[in-house]
Amino acid sequence: MIEARQLTKHFDDFVAVDQIDFRVNPGEVLVLLGPNGAGKTTTVRMLTSIIRPTFGDATIQGYSVINDPDQVRRNVGVLTEHHGLYQRMNAINYLAFFAQLYGLDHKTYQPRIEQLLSQFGLYQIRSKRLGEYSKGMRQKLALARALLHHPPVLLLDEPTSAMDPASARMVRDAILQLRSEDRAIVLCTHNLNEAEELADRIAIIHNGKILHNATPAELKTQMVGQTQYLVRYTHAPYQWAYTAQLPGIRLTSQDDHTLTFSIEDPPQQTPLLLSELIGQGVSVIECKEVNRSLEQAYLQVVSMNTEKES
């Protein structure tokens, strides 16, 4: 589990991270979303005890990043922004080196290395010098390094930024798998689709402050309104009009073949709405959620903050 309380970092007069609070439970993914220089990497570095907070504290599995840096690092797997692998080593030696640094013995790390290399499609090139690896391969190897010691907490900085779509899918699946294994994960990304797919919560960070920390659905609801559902129909009774007064459901637009509703609690209320429509003789052929992008919500948050600051 990760818990940050009033976490702050100043570099001389520059405030890189400004009193941020968040909590990531086991089996949860928190996505830190923000522009370049927002304070994401500084936050990750504070969570690994590399950078000492100016104020506040954070705990990793109960260990303070200020008072127990060694324990913190033992419990964290980090994928850094710069992977900087040792060019003249091969994948097996590289992972073995880090496995030993994390105190794993040969019997433990040997099968683990093979398993991770296979999982990320690097097994065939395990003997190749790392200097010959492509950017995506390096990123996958760096991720394998972060997972070597089965850390309960993972801090992943741009895990798929240099990957082709297939590799990115592989890594996302791995992250989902890790979440299901009860790891607490913080993920920094600019990729909004990835954020939406993986995040249990999204924290939008801008100028060192967390502007919003919510689930993707909550974020979209707060920023671009409630969930919208579109109902397409082929036939409706003559001069039909929607008159039902279902709680939490509001008709927002209507034309000859479509109806758009704003629904507060879609899982509960959508079936009721459909029953009502069909009951009134509307021939429904499709009912789908209107796609409200996370991008819209994100840009809305950032622009609101910029306006507020200016």
Binding site: R45, I51, R73, G84, L85, F97
Partner: protein, 481 residues
């Protein structure tokens, strides 16, 4: 037995991660032909060249019966053969942290559960071992060459001393270079800063060559070994104390920021005080309290100086012939009449004292405080020598006390405090400070030195100079007329 076994396992577990770093880096170095080639060259070819030089030199000097020149040259060349490969250690160690930072591979290491000292020590060892192996091989090839050419070998103790000196020099150079590497912002900056290691090392080699070639006893170089070990310890201590993971990942740019330097100095010198009294109360006196260990050390060395000076009378006979107290008084009166009763003499005394403490400060700053003790040691040794010499000549101790105490009671403590301030400034530099860069701490240590020197020593020196010029001689003449 079980406790011993546990202790051994504990030590092994602590050292193991450092060893992992060393092992990986040494393997990596031996995969790089740019490191391997010069080591092989300096191991195999260079000693052969030196053997040839010795042979030619022997043949040449034998014609003129100056075999001693060649005899001295043999251990000197052994030292040179050993030194060349260890110079490579400088290149490796300068790159060790800042190079990894530039290649982006340092962060995974910093994220790992390595302790600071394990990472630091592992990297230091990795920079030291390959060049030292090359150095030992080179010296062995050189010695085997001498045997094959039937050239007499130096004495065993000299060979051992040269091997030990080579090890210590390598440790000193590497520890200095690793400090630079851990603090520099780029490889370029580290390379530019290398002159701070290369120039002292070059001087060192010249001093060693001088002692080896012209010195009475080659074994005097053991003192050099001890001094280099102390210096290496200090460098390693500074390196580990100021090793900060955060700074390694910083994006600072190298610029000479005079404003920042002045602000840092002034902040540390002045503190948050508004006037002179509050400055003394909040800054000077607390600093004085903090340097109590420095005062104790300065006292110990001053007492040692006094004792050494006292004993020196039996080694070097006292040069002044004093037949009577009247003669001494006459000399004193003539001195008083000639120079002392002038304002210029006060200025001269003050200047002399300022020069002494500046020398102490300078020597202290380049030797981690070790040489900063020298002025106090020498002054107290002179006092001891003078005292014993004059007492042995029949001059009453009271006369001598009257000659020294009135101003000495201020001047000698001021000198002690100036020495203690130098030691304290070094202690500030050696104290762990993860949040500040080494440059910042260095400026702060200078500010501490100035605080004590200007706040306490200078007023005492000024007062002592007036007493020395106007009161002491008159008092002596009045007491012993």
């Amino acid at each position: 037995m079980a406790a011993l076994h546990n202790s051994f396992n504990h030590v092994k577990a602590e050292i193991w991660p450092a060893w992992l770093i060393t092992r990986r880096e040494v393997k990596d170095q031996f995969r790089d032909w740019r490191v391997v080639f010069p080591i092989v060259f300096l191991t195999a070819f260079f000693p052969y060249l030196m053997n040839y030089a010795v042979r030619q030199m022997l043949n040449f000097v034998e014609q003129y019966g100056a075999v001693i020149v060649a005899e001295r040259l043999i251990p000197l060349l052994l030292m040179i053969v050993g030194f060349f490969p260890i110079s490579i250690s400088l290149v490796i160690s300068l790159d060790t942290f800042v190079g990894e930072k530039e290649r982006g591979s340092i962060e995974p290491l910093l994220d790992s559960p390595l302790k600071d000292w394990q990472l630091y020590f592992g990297k230091m060892l990795a920079s030291t071992v390959p060049p030292l192996v090359g150095s030992f091989l080179g010296m062995s090839v050189y010695l085997i060459g001498l045997i094959l050419q039937k050239i007499p070998l130096p004495e065993t103790s000299t060979i051992v001393m040269v091997f030990v000196l080579t090890i210590v020099q390598a440790i000193m150079m590497v520890s200095g270079a690793v400090v630079v590497s851990a603090q520099a912002t780029s490889v370029r900056a580290a390379n530019l800063l290398a002159s701070f290691i290369i120039i002292p090392s070059a001087f060192l080699i010249q001093i060693e060559a001088f002692i080896m070639f012209w010195g009475k006893n080659v074994n005097d170089l053991w003192w050099m070994v001890v001094a280099l070990l102390v210096l290496s310890y200090m460098l390693i201590r500074v390196g580990i104390s100021h090793f900060a993971r955060e700074k390694l990942l910083g994006r600072e740019i190298d610029i000479l920021n005079l404003k920042w330097i002045w602000q840092t100095f002034w902040r540390s010198f002045k503190g948050n005080t508004a006037g002179l009294f509050s400055w003394y109360r909040q800054e000077v006196f607390p600093a004085l309290k903090k340097m109590r260990y420095g005062i104790v050390i300065a006292l110990i060395f001053s007492a040692a100086g006094l004792a050494i000076g006292w004993r020196m009378v039996s080694v070097f006979s006292f040069p002044v012939e004093v037949s009577s107290l009247d003669e001494l008084n006459e000399n004193l009166r003539s001195i008083v009449e000639l120079t002392y009763l002038s304002k210029a003499s006060v200025a001269l005394i003050i200047l002399q004292n300022i020069r002494a403490i500046l020398i102490a400060g300078f020597l202290g700053s380049i030797s981690f405080g070790v040489a900063g003790i020298a002025p106090a040691l020498v002054t107290f040794a002179a006092v001891g020598y003078l005292f014993n010499g004059l007492i042995s000549s029949g001059i009453p101790a009271g006369y001598l006390l009257a000659l020294i105490l009135p101003h000495g009671i201020l001047e000698l403590p001021a000198l002690l405090l100036a020495t203690a301030a130098t030691l304290h400034a070094v202690a500030v530099l050696l104290a762990p400070s993860k949040q500040k860069g080494i440059g910042e701490v260095w400026i702060e240590s200078i500010a501490v030195w100035f605080k004590i020197t200007l706040g306490i020593c200078m007023p005492l020196f000024v007062l002592a100079a007036f007493i020395e010029a106007f009161i002491t001689p008159q008092l002596v003449l009045w007491l012993y007329q």
